[in-house]
Symmetry: C2
Subunit: 338 residues, 2 copies
């Protein structure tokens, strides 16, 4: 075959050319599937466990085969798909919004918890407690239409930078997890975010960054209300919590929004504990994974004592039950895409 030139091949007119094309396609497909799907993961038990699970549920001859429509995989976001230190990134967004709105609210200079944010006084902010944080969240996340909020989120992501890395926040996603998302999708999985973060804070960029479309993002939310403005319907974001998608809220969110139990779940903190338990107790083969933050040099190192992303009870259960635990320092060749 080698040595024949293209013109001869095309002239034959007996389908030989088409046959060669077909052959190249088939060989190309085989080539793609034998390449390493997780190049940023170091070789070892963690990587082997992932690949074995995916191959098994995809193997029609296995008793543990799972039909594609049941291959639901749910991922926590903060600390699982991107970083969450020194505070959840949505916190930076809220603080920046307070600063941006302060001109319209001169009274905030003397009123907590706003005063604390305007003066970068984190101690005073801590004193305001959960009530103070709730007030900040409602002030910055409600009182506008869904479309206005989407624009605010997009504009913030285009301009804001993480203080440690001096890069856009969406650069702080984990390359190994991007590979894992893609690998699962290539193997027929439907990948979902199931996060305590605000659903409308994630949807505007989740498709571009993670390949996860808006309808596959489950998160916390405020109540919405339909109103008519200039004869057109708009959805107003009300200063009232609708749903908290964290801890025991995660299985609830999964049932409400997906209506099927996942066969694989990925988290990093006690806020994901119930999601992993819910996933683990379904029938058939299951895969539960925790990202353990062990790399202070390249990212952060924290677990049982951290106020953000505490990993304590879930870590015990993972160890007892043999769930997969990613040792970030050891298992990840690269952390961020940059």
């Amino acid at each position: 075959m080698i040595g024949k030139n293209w013109r001869t091949l095309l002239r034959r007119g007996d389908g030989y050319f088409e046959f060669c094309i077909l052959l190249l396609i088939v060989l190309g497909m085989a080539g793609a599937s034998s390449a390493d799907p997780l190049p940023s993961w170091n070789e070892g038990l963690t990587k082997q466990a992932i690949i074995k699970f995916v191959q098994t549920v995809n193997d029609k001859s296995s008793p543990q085969y799972v039909p594609p429509e049941q291959r639901i995989a749910t991922f926590d976001n903060d600390g699982t798909l991107w970083s969450e230190q020194p505070i959840y990134f949505q916190g930076f967004f809220a603080f920046d919004r307070v600063k941006a709105l302060a001109l319209q609210h001169p009274e905030w200079k003397e009123r907590q918890p706003f005063k604390a944010i305007l003066e970068n006084d984190m101690k005073a902010l801590a004193v305001s407690g959960e009530k103070g944080m709730a007030e900040i969240m409602m002030t910055t996340h409600a009182g506008m239409t869904t479309e206005q909020f989407e624009k605010i989120v997009k504009d913030w992501f285009a301009a804001a930078k993480h203080p440690r890395f001096n890069r856009p926040f969406t650069d702080l996603v984990y390359k190994p997890m991007l590979e894992l998302l893609a690998y699962l999708r290539e193997n027929g999985f439907k990948t979902y975010i199931v996060s305590g973060g605000g659903v409308e804070f994630m949807r505007p960029w989740a498709e571009k960054v993670y390949g996860i479309p808006p309808e596959q993002v489950v998160g916390s939310s405020v109540k919405l209300k339909l109103e008519m403005r200039d004869g057109k319907p708009v959805l107003m974001r009300l200063p009232e919590i609708d749903f908290i998608d964290d801890g025991p809220g995660k299985p609830v969110g999964i049932q409400k929004f997906i209506g099927r139990r996942p066969i694989a779940a990925f988290g990093n903190s006690d806020g994901d504990h119930q999601m992993l338990q819910w996933t683990a107790t379904g029938e058939g083969l299951r895969f539960m994974l925790l990202v353990h933050h062990t790399d202070a040099e390249r990212e952060w190192s924290y677990d049982r004592q951290s106020s953000i992303g505490r990993l304590d009870k879930a870590l015990d259960e993972a160890q007892n039950r043999g769930w997969t635990i990613v040792d970030m320092k050891k298992d990840w060749k690269k952390i961020f895409p940059f």
Copy 2:
């Protein structure tokens, strides 16, 4: 080519056979796309409007082309995909559940609204009003796990029959709408149910009957609570409304669960009015359709005066704005698949 037998063809060994197969596949595809995708729809303006819309959003050379990921189509269920007379089918389910549970509740014989149902006294039931209906719904739809409820729903659908047609309720789906769902999906649309009915009442059969998976069913819901039973997590259905997906709730449900505005919406009553308005006021080409029940002989005939599925204000707006209106009697060659 005709006259050559298969053995000769296979013996050639030069790819000619493969070429023929390829040719057959290509011809088969062309054949499929030129066949009538909506055989149960009579020729006319309604059918033309549907096909023109689908072809336009799918035509890359058109300025009104829509990328596949934005091709979201939402369908009401009761009266749009299946019948809703003489009462919503979920009402039959609730009444049957009251009768099934009555043995465990001897006090119901003397207590409204249960007494009315046990005695088939629809007048007394009407007197109990919304409060009575809410009590029936909560008694029959809450107080069990999500898995128990799913089994109850499946068992009911396997046994219950519609009083007029003496057939399983899932037989009373509209064949023209099944064809429309399939036609949209073949053209890259993601089809959703957005119904006032209970989400967990529809999910157990929507995939089999409509080809719509659980995660694409949006509906009304009760609150859920995670509990541990024998060391295993279960989701309990609480006797408390979580969300009513009807009227102004439909755009809210669409935003909560899908997070994108549909480009096509299908309904049949004033409960779908806001969903169609919400769909209509997005940018780009849009398609809004109302099923008008005009066929008392083959199905039912009702609109402005009906207590179930009233179509009044939405009909006016559809006429004023040129939304597509299905005249069931005229436009549908067949109504049910049987």
